[in-house]
């Protein structure tokens, strides 16, 4: 159902502090905490003594202590201490490898050796970019969010008041492969900038009365990373290739983490190349994205219910759907490979 031998964002770094955090990833209940060095530990959320969730307990040095009868489990999942008990022969708790990077915590839920080289790169994790984000818990298959993000045609309908514009519909998308990435791109030339981008141009000192070239380059990498290069440049400056002072652009960062087959966590954010260090701009963009993604949330949750009502029906696969279709093929290939292995 989900590829398991892969990295998933399970939480933002600031969600895991003093007390254990319970979160289900790929149908596996997990608990996260920080050890005495601040390193993230991720264990299955199940005490081998009497089956209570370990997340009920508390952190004791490097160990997580069960809140029911005091069994302590170490960061490697081995029972480490229990008053008057010989814990050496107790069954172990499954421990999952974690990586903390760019404000996110990645977990590898599968049983294969985790491959650190596959942790998603965060190209904006550098001083010349500014980043802000948030997250949602959505009652819909994570693949519906992938479809959504790989076909921005929906902006005209779901987000008509903020980032939609008629030219989106008029300009066909192209879908192609770029190594491991599925890429869907749309370029609009000499159009009026929509409200979001007009404001960005103003913040960046560009004349908002000019027509612009606008681009949307959606890049998906299995199982759950989408980076969308978005931006506008006054027409004649080279579009996506314009010099940084002549364009406003950003990378919309999306991690869709399956919780169950019908729910996921959606970690979204936007890196930008303008108004660096301006926290007010960051917060305004966060509020705007939160509002926009709330519109998607309602659509996706209702689409999920609708699909569950008619599970046997086939969906149409138009040119605008090609990005999602190819992304799902990659996911299925990963799942198939795991089942063969």
């Amino acid at each position: 159902m989900f590829p398991l031998n892969a990295w998933y964002v399970i939480a933002t770094a600031d969600e895991v502090a003093d007390s254990p955090l319970a979160r289900t990833l790929c149908d596996i209940p997990m608990v996260l905490y920080r050890d005495s060095q601040g390193q993230i530990v991720c264990l299955q959320d199940y005490c081998p003594h009497r089956g209570a969730p370990l997340s009920l307990g508390r952190v004791n040095g490097d160990n997580l202590m069960c809140g029911y009868h005091g069994l302590e489990v170490g960061p490697d999942g081995k029972p480490a201490f229990m008053p008057k008990q010989r814990v050496e022969r107790f069954p172990c708790v499954e421990a999952y490898q974690t990586i903390e990077s760019g404000g996110y915590i990645f977990v590898w839920p599968g049983s294969d050796q985790p491959n650190v080289a596959q942790v998603p790169e965060l190209p904006w994790n550098q001083p010349e970019w500014e980043f802000g984000g948030g997250s949602f818990h959505i009652q819909a298959d994570f693949r519906l969010m992938i479809d959504n993000l790989m076909d921005l045609t929906h902006e005209n309908y779901v987000h008509s008041s903020s980032i939609g514009q008629p030219e989106i519909d008029e300009q066909p998308v192209k879908t192609r492969r770029d190594g491991e990435w599925v890429v869907t791109e749309r370029y609009m030339e000499a159009v009026e900038a929509p409200p979001f981008w007009k404001l960005a141009m103003q913040q960046h000192g560009l004349d908002t009365d000019q027509l612009v070239d606008r681009w949307q380059v959606c890049r998906f990498k299995a199982p759950s990373t989408i980076m969308i290069d978005v931006g506008v440049a006054p027409t004649g400056q080279g579009g996506i290739n314009a010099p940084v002072e002549k364009k406003v652009h950003g990378i919309v960062t999306d991690f869709m983490t399956p919780e169950t087959t019908s729910s996921h966590f959606y970690f979204w954010g936007m890196a930008r190349s303008w108004s660096i260090g301006d926290n007010e701009v960051t917060q305004a963009i966060q509020r705007g994205q939160q509002k926009i993604f709330t519109e998607d949330l309602e659509v996706l949750e209702r689409q999920q219910k609708s699909l569950e009502r008619f599970p046997e029906r086939k969906l149409l696969m138009l040119d605008i759907d090609a990005g999602g279709v190819q992304a799902r093929r990659q996911l299925q290939a990963m799942v198939d490979a795991e089942h063969r292995g």
Copy 2:
């Protein structure tokens, strides 16, 4: 489970205005809207593109536009427009025939040719009658409401403070067939009028100190229409056949529309022959009926749960239950005929 080749009230006329209305009928998700001429359109609530519910969208002229990617569907269920797409070969959406009559919208959910002659007649839909009504969404099999209305013995127990009176129990009911109708009738002679009817007599200028003849004539027509002729006349005036100025009487109108096997919409109302044009009387009766039917609602929802707990048990079929028993037989005959067809 339900007869499908039949007319059902799906909504009141004033429920369908500018925005699409989602409603499930006989386990089929449907969406209703008015086209540019104000005609009611009813479609299956499922976009053939990506399965989103069409009710998320908005009306565009005669078409309903999906709120996700802009596919427009016409009143006949045929995809009519989508930017840059050839919609001619898209699968169609199921469209259902509708009739608007007497403030109600009737829909024919089945696949047989709709028979307009079978739309329930509304005998009170004329100037000499006054009408007011309302509706409830009830978590119980619609047949439990039919049982309820075809045996008014329950008035003494469920509605003891308003329309119940001991003579109801003392007077046996008779159940008979009248063409397509199942009729259950009870006549009480020379009894004291209960509070509801005393007030009506007063409004109609009748002496409330007199004893009255009271009648309840419940008429059921499959699958979901019940018309109950109710009234009182001072004893000696001919009872149900008394001249209109010597009696107060009405038609309690009930449409029970199955939503799922364990829930239904209940559209109720009362037409009356007194205080014509007096809106305050209409509203007072509406409030009274709403209160009375709320008592039924609680009983039916708890009866539903109780029956689900012991699905194998047989119910008793007493003389007072004969109306409901015969009504269910008619329903079953319709379902059987559809399955043979």
Copy 3:
């Protein structure tokens, strides 16, 4: 699943007054009321006429009258009256024997002849004891509560701020059989009294600066009675055998009544031998117990969900778990005997 031929507490005596009380016991919907003499009657909550729950109705003398069509059922479950109907041949409602004792109502849900000798004795039901209690509705298998109470090691973790103390972990428990009872006992010598007991010593006029001997003797009798002898006495006075003026002790009384396989009613209380007649002390202890048992409630409900997620996993059975393990064996033996019979 549950032993049925046994007494269970279904309610406290003051819960059953003028109106019928609906409560499910061992997956059987039941209704309780008091007849004209104040005697408790317990029937299956299902009217044989149309399946409505009898608990919707009202008490009429010795009978319970269905709130839908007026069928009256007697305390023996026999239909007793219905207007214009011959009820002699109606099917009977299952009636369950009840005993009222010590403020509790016990019901025997099984089909074997009830054995009055097996009604749990309430040793504190005498003038030299003071009693106060309460109840919870808990979404967890009743056996999880038995495990909880037969292993007080959890006090150190779940109740660390009130009745926990490190010596609980340091002192091993012993589990033994005493006739029909499973007994788990722990004795701590020369320890500091925890806050709850310090207050009790003060109320009883004992010097709270002294070290104490503390005991916890948990006694389980199948299917659902636990009596825990708890207390402290200043060291050197004989511990549990100290004279009553030299110790503070009580009996924690617990009845765990299965509602379904994953929920139960928990009737808890505490009898004490000090501050007799002091209602303020009673209420303070009630509040304290309510707070403590609320901590258990959260653990048990989350443990239940966790066990449902991994139903195939075996739990560890340590020495501290022996009381619960033996209690479950007794329960299973009762169930097996019923299935053989």
